[in-house]
Symmetry: C2
Subunit: 230 residues, 2 copies
């Protein structure tokens, strides 16, 4: 294993860290809004890819916010919209992210992000989390105008890093992203951020389940893992 | 307008009519299971299409059931699985479906289904609802092994009916299906089965919103409607 490639949203950055701002702007509806916003954001990324109507993740994120506030009958003023979208530029990183990446980097692994996010979103989020200096590449699907889990997305990692797919580990908290990467031939690690969440039933599983980025350091000597396929 | 093409699940057939059986088998969890089952079924159809790993809608429906029972920590025995999947073969039709289709048929319109459903599922559901005799065609995505909202799916309707896209109305209760059909050049009708649901923010809207299949009969004289695009 020569490189580890990370999903960004939900894996490195806590998409629910917008909940407190949602609650501040819409008292009593913060959690419902944050959860629906994330769910529609993912759904719209899939639907636009399927429709051959790509729009970048910033647009998709804003469309999902507009839908979610309408569905919850909340009054999204222009000012509140700007505040919430700004929060998405500076999502909190999970506490294990910075120390985990630093330890993996010190082992000589190449580290990268492979994300649905638009390049400006990823640039501000990695800078805000203080991890931009630890990453060898920040790869966005925007280069090819299709979202995960298209196999064309996962093929960007070996192409951009110059490392064969068999020597790349892909890390995501999203079960469907794990399945997509495994289906595309990468060794997939599922970082379980939610406690009792079952694996997705998509025919492709993670090679290993971990609970923090720092857990990957201990596995380093055992690389590469055998890949399980459905 | 020479033909009306209908989505099946959620539009003609009430996917939540399995709720009572869910509740009978898993007391206290019936609604949660029925809602999650439907949500994962749709998500898996999108994910498998994006991954280029098509499996038919029967398999996707069963995978979604397995995931949902695990997520809700319900014990899905083989017997309960068979009972629930059997219920999907004979979903209830909404009460406006049979009279609506009969009235539209009597106006001389060609009527068809265009659905994600596997052919045997659609055959048993239309027979069970007593509408098989009213349909000129039952078109399944299984012919091309990709799910909605791929534009390739909506192109099946003009090809199979021998009617130009501009003379086909497509009717769905699913906002994303409406957007997909409109994006693919069909005149889309949104039949709003849930009261206060907002339109999806995907850049393509319905030409008209109706609340029952029978509402379409009154609009017949006004065909064709102008198509709105985002």
């Amino acid at each position: 294993m020569r490189a580890l490639v990370f999903d960004a949203y939900g894996t490195l950055f806590d998409v629910l860290s917008v909940t407190s701002l949602c609650e501040l702007l819409f008292p009593g509806s913060g959690t419902a809004l944050a959860v629906m916003w994330r769910s529609k954001q993912l759904q719209y990324s899939l639907l636009r890819s399927m429709m051959d109507r790509y729009a970048d993740f910033w647009q998709v994120t804003q469309d999902a916010l507009v839908y979610s506030t309408r569905a919850l009958q909340l009054d999204l003023t222009a000012e509140k919209r700007v505040q919430l979208m700004d929060a998405y530029r500076t999502l909190h990183a999970f506490p294990d992210v910075k120390p985990g990446l630093a330890q993996l980097k010190s082992k000589g692994l190449s580290l990268a992000i492979l994300s649905n996010g638009a390049p400006p979103m990823l640039a501000s989020a990695t800078r805000s989390a203080g991890i931009d200096g630890l990453l060898d590449a920040v790869i966005s699907v925007d280069d090819i105008k299709v979202f995960k889990p298209s196999p064309r997305v996962y093929a960007l990692a070996p192409a951009r890093l110059g490392v064969p797919p068999g020597e790349i580990g892909f890390v995501s908290s999203n079960g469907w992203d794990v399945a997509g990467a495994a289906s595309a031939g990468l060794t997939a690690f599922w970082i379980q951020r939610a406690a009792a969440e079952p694996a997705d039933e998509l025919g492709y599983q993670a090679a290993r389940v971990v609970h923090a980025i720092t857990d990957l350091v201990a596995y380093n000597s055992a690389f590469p893992f055998p890949r399980q396929e459905g």
